[in-house]
């Protein structure tokens, strides 16, 4: 079986750090979007029609908030995968170090 190792030790370590940061920050963003925080209003993709044509305000905007929140959670879970992959790479690198010496 060919080696599953495709990145060196430093890149794998960076990957782990980035994934941890990504998981924490994106999940927190997801929570804040689901809590409909006012500070994040500019990150929600609403248009003029959404506000004007809203039959039951502010449900459209709330719906958009929820969508963005779910996107954030999905991205956080993808980062969990990236983190697991980086962890594998780190372990493989360590094993290769042992075998050479």
């Amino acid at each position: 079986m060919p080696s599953l190792l495709f990145c060196g030790p430093k890149l794998a370590a960076c990957g782990i750090v980035l994934s941890i940061w990504g998981v924490i920050m994106l999940s927190m963003l997801g929570i804040f979007f689901s809590a409909k925080s006012a500070v994040l209003i500019e990150d929600v993709p609403f248009t003029e029609e959404d506000i004007r044509d809203d039959k039951n305000p502010p449900q459209t905007i709330y719906g958009l908030y929820n969508q963005v929140g779910i996107n954030c959670f999905i991205a956080a879970s993808i980062y969990v995968g990236v983190g697991a992959l980086s962890l594998c790479q780190v372990r493989l690198n360590k094993r290769q170090e042992y075998m050479v010496t």
Binding site: W21, A38, V39, N71, I74, A75
Partner: protein
């Protein structure tokens, strides 16, 4: 008492010890690491010192040790780590080590030489072996050509054949056998072969047969020789005379030629003998390598210990070079600087050393008084040494001057954090610093200069990160978004009908609407509990509020920092007992700063506390400028009753302080000098009569004339500087001009002293010339004092204004950081957040990675370095020039620990 408050009190101590115990005593002192040896032979050149031969021997030994270590690394032999404390090296160890090392080195070099020669032999034999194998095919082919005149059969061997030759061969086929052809066989590098062939072709016009084949590269061959490809070739020619030419060509192409026997039987014999020879050689090579490994392994157990011993010996001999050896050769005298509180430790170390060497006489410590300035020693631990290092980078403190380091531990990270203020970035920085601190020892092994700097400053970075989290919470800024933890004090709903003026149509008409705090319910009346209200994050006039806040905060912080610096100068004056300076320098400086800039802070705080209608609120900057220009027109709004009177009084006080700073101190010095001179003058007048008195008197007059010119010069400087006002740029220009004027004044004075000197030499008596010498000294110092005072005053007054303005960089940098952070969020992360479909999450993943990388590189590293530099500049220039002299030299003790640490 050891603390960071002030540098330690040092004493100069004379040591006397016997020559036999010298090594042990100095070694004990080196282990202690608390004394600095003074050079008692400063005039002696390096190669004339007493122990220079021993130092050279130590260096030679170090070279041998380095060679040994390199060999060990090449052969992958592990160097054992040292045990804890080695025995003290003594003088006869030097000789013993010397002989051991030389023997080791010679042995190793011989082994290496033999090894190389054996390898070369083996390579040659392998060449011959493959040559013999390959030429079998050629010979067979040649015979087949001669006898059967058929085209050669296809082989795995590549051939170069010319049809011309084949035809010729065929013509001669009947009578000539293989015996008429002579041949030359050899090995040549593959990339040289085409050129070789061309040259042969041109020389012999195809009158030869050339066969070549690539040599199979076996594993062994590759290990021995490397990846160089070589070809075996054989040339069949007629005639011996041609052979010589070909031989020369082969030499030119560096092909190695081997003699090949003609008959098959001989070739087989040769092949067998080559085989046996190769086997023997391989065995010998293996044995040699084993022997070499054995020698190196035995040496590897001790090499660390040896190298640290050699280093210590070299340090000891270097130190002995600094001492004095008296005539009887029995006693060594050394002078050391050592902290007063450690004298007992030094004494006990010396006693231990002399006991170890077995000498009967204990060394004598003799503390001597001296006028020389001792070195500056600040006792630091791992936490404080980083901060002490950044103070020392600007200038090592004068002996016993107050040390700014303990305050820097707080103010430096705080000023950094004011410029950096972001919770999220601060958190990342803190986590990074915690990681570096925990991994400090293993990171030191990387031996990179950059990592060494980061490791040295790990506590500084940790504090900077923690303070940044704090200021981030105050600015309410985390990756450019605010937290609403306590509930905002502003509410938008009351602005609408029926409480307030807004209707549904208002929203459609206007793009920007302003919340009116006077409408009940909009502003709850209590400000946000901790920090900036989160509502400002979504307000479009956020910057006009934040800029005003940050500018005023920077000025307040700056003036407080500078006042603190001035207060520290008071402590210095009290310690050095310059009580006159307290009244002539500290008090006027304090009054000047308080009356102008203290009043500015008062205005800022007062305006923040009272309630004003924003249309009618006066700008503080305008108020301040009008105060300096005495501009009080009736339509200007004032903040409180009686403001005009207070301001006029304060400005006049400040202005009054300037001549006090400028003139009083030089005047007092002048008066004391005049008094002493009158006494001396009176004595001289009694001793001599006649023309001598007149010359001295004219000297005196000239002296006064020069001082008056001085006074006019700096008077002019002072007046013009005051009139042009308080704007910092103009003030900086003036400082340059004033200093150049002062320099001109100083050079003018020095020419006058030369003139005065000439006048004295024309009259001849010793007493008179000594008197005028005394006068000349006074004359120079008097002018010096005036100029120094002028420079100092101008620098302080102009400096106050420019330094206060300089603190505005706190505002500028924090604004830059906040804006960069916001731009990064909006341009990178928001693009991913705004995509509401499913693809949004994938885009978010990629864009978050970009956001993280850019945050770390631009915001953390670049902005962090920038804020670090500016905070450092604020400390070094604006804070420290209020009290710090920094003209000392650092205490560098003889310490084996730091010696061994730096080398490794």
């Amino acid at each position: 008492m050891s603390s960071l408050f002030r540098s330690e009190e040092m004493c100069l101590v004379q040591l006397f010890f016997q020559t036999e115990s010298a090594h042990n005593c100095i070694s004990e002192l080196g282990h202690l690491g608390l004394v600095q040896f003074k050079d008692l032979n400063p005039g002696v050149a390096a190669f004339q010192r007493r122990f220079v031969k021993e130092v050279k021997k130590c260096e030679e030994m170090e070279r041998i040790l380095r060679y040994l270590e390199k060999e060990m690394v090449k052969s992958n032999i592990v160097i054992a780590a040292t045990k804890e404390k080695e025995m003290v090296p003594c003088a006869r160890d030097v000789l013993e080590f010397e002989s051991t090392f030389e023997k080791l080195e010679q042995e190793l070099r011989e082994i290496n030489r033999n090894h190389a020669a054996l390898r070369q032999n083996l390579i040659e034999l392998m060449d011959i072996d493959s040559l013999l194998r390959m030429t079998e095919d050629f010979f067979e082919e040649a015979e087949s050509l001669l006898t059967y005149s058929e085209p050669p059969s296809e082989d795995s061997v590549s051939m170069t054949v010319s049809s011309h030759i084949t035809s010729r061969r065929n013509s001669n086929s009947s009578t000539s056998g293989a015996l008429h052809l002579s041949f030359i066989a050899g090995v040549i590098k593959q990339d040289r072969f085409p050129a070789f062939e061309k040259v042969l072709w041109r020389l012999f016009h195809g009158n030869f047969v050339l066969r070549h084949a690539e040599m199979q590269a076996t594993e062994e061959l590759q290990a021995l020789r490397g990846a160089v490809k070589k070809d075996v070739f054989i040339i069949f020619v007629q005639g011996d005379h041609v052979r010589e030419k070909i031989r020369k060509v082969c030499e030119g192409f560096r092909a190695s030629l081997y003699s090949c026997p003609k008959t098959l039987y001989e070739r087989k014999q040769m092949s067998n003998s080559v085989m046996t020879q190769m086997q023997d050689l391989r065995m010998i090579l293996r044995r040699t390598e084993e022997y070499r490994a054995g020698v190196l392994t035995r040496a590897a157990e001790h090499v660390q210990e040896w190298s640290s011993k050699v280093k210590k010996m070299k340090a000891i001999y270097y130190t002995l070079n600094l001492c004095n050896i008296d005539i009887t050769q029995k006693l060594i005298v050394a002078e050391i600087w050592c902290p007063v509180s450690d004298l007992t430790l030094v004494q006990s170390a010396l006693i231990k050393g002399s006991e170890q060497s077995g000498s009967s006489v204990t060394p004598v410590l003799n503390r001597i008084q001296t006028q020389q300035t001792p070195p500056t020693f600040n006792r630091t631990n791992t936490f404080t040494e980083g901060f002490q290092a950044i103070i020392d980078a600007y200038g090592v403190g004068t002996y016993q001057e107050i040390n700014p380091a303990p305050y820097t531990i707080v103010t430096f990270p705080f000023l950094f954090a004011v410029m950096f203020g972001d919770c999220g970035h601060g958190l990342v920085m803190t986590l990074f610093a915690v990681w570096v601190t925990s991994q400090a020892e293993s990171l030191r092994k990387w031996k990179n200069e950059l990592t060494d700097v980061v490791i040295g400053g790990r506590y500084i970075i940790l504090l900077m990160g923690m303070f940044s989290i704090y200021t981030g919470l105050i600015y309410n800024d985390c990756f450019s978004k605010s937290f609403n933890i306590f509930g905002s004090s502003w509410s938008v709903r009351p602005m609408f009908h029926p409480h307030g003026p807004w209707q549904n149509e208002t929203l459609h008409e206007y793009h920007h609407l302003q919340l009116n705090p006077f409408v009940p319910g909009v502003y709850s009346g209590d400000p946000y509990v901790f920090g900036i209200d989160p509502v400002w994050n979504i307000a479009s006039n956020k910057l006009s509020f934040l800029n005003s806040f940050k500018m005023k905060m920077s000025v307040i912080l700056g003036v407080s920092h500078m006042l603190f610096g001035v207060a520290l100068s008071l402590v210095n004056f009290v310690h050095f007992r310059k009580f006159q300076d307290i009244f002539l320098q500290f008090v006027p400086q304090l009054i000047f700063m308080l009356s102008l800039f203290g009043y500015l802070i008062f205005l800022i705080l007062y305006k923040w506390c009272i309630t004003l209608r924003s249309e009618m609120a006066p700008s503080i900057l305008l108020l301040f400028i009008n105060m300096m220009l005495f501009d009080y027109q009736s339509e200007h709004v004032l903040l409180y009753r009686g403001q005009k009177g207070v301001q006029i009084f304060l400005v006049l006080t400040a202005v009054l302080m300037v001549p006090v700073l400028l003139l009083v101190k030089p005047f007092l010095i002048y008066r004391t000098r005049m008094k002493t001179r009158h006494q001396v003058f009176g004595n001289n007048l009694n001793d001599q009569h006649g023309t001598d008195t007149r010359s001295s008197f004219s000297q005196h007059q000239k002296d006064e004339m020069v001082s008056m010119g001085d006074i006019f010069v700096y008077q002019a400087i002072h007046t013009i500087e005051f009139c042009l006002g308080c704007i910092s740029n103009t003030a900086s220009y003036l400082r340059l001009w004033a200093l150049s004027l002062a320099h001109a004044g100083l050079s003018c004075r020095s020419t006058c002293t030369v003139f005065g000197n000439n006048l004295n030499d024309q009259h001849g008596t010793d007493t008179r010339s000594s008197f005028s010498q005394h006068q000349k000294d006074e004359m120079v110092s008097m002018g010096d004092i005036f100029v120094y005072q002028a420079i100092h005053t101008i620098e302080f007054c102009l400096g106050c204004i420019s330094n206060t303005a300089s603190y505005l960089r706190l505002w500028a940098l924090s604004l830059a950081h906040a804006e960069l952070s916001e731009v990064l969020w909006r341009m990178v992360l928001q693009v991913g957040l705004k995509i509401s479909s499913g693809m949004g999450s994938l885009m978010l993943v990629v864009l978050f990675a970009a956001f993280a990388v850019l945050t770390v590189t631009v915001l953390l590293i670049m902005e962090g370095l920038s804020a670090f530099l500016h905070a450092l500049r604020l400390h070094w220039v604006e804070f420290q020039n209020k009290f710090y002299e920094g003209s000392g030299y650092k205490f560098t003790p003889l310490s084996f620990d730091s010696l061994l640490k730096t080398q490794h």
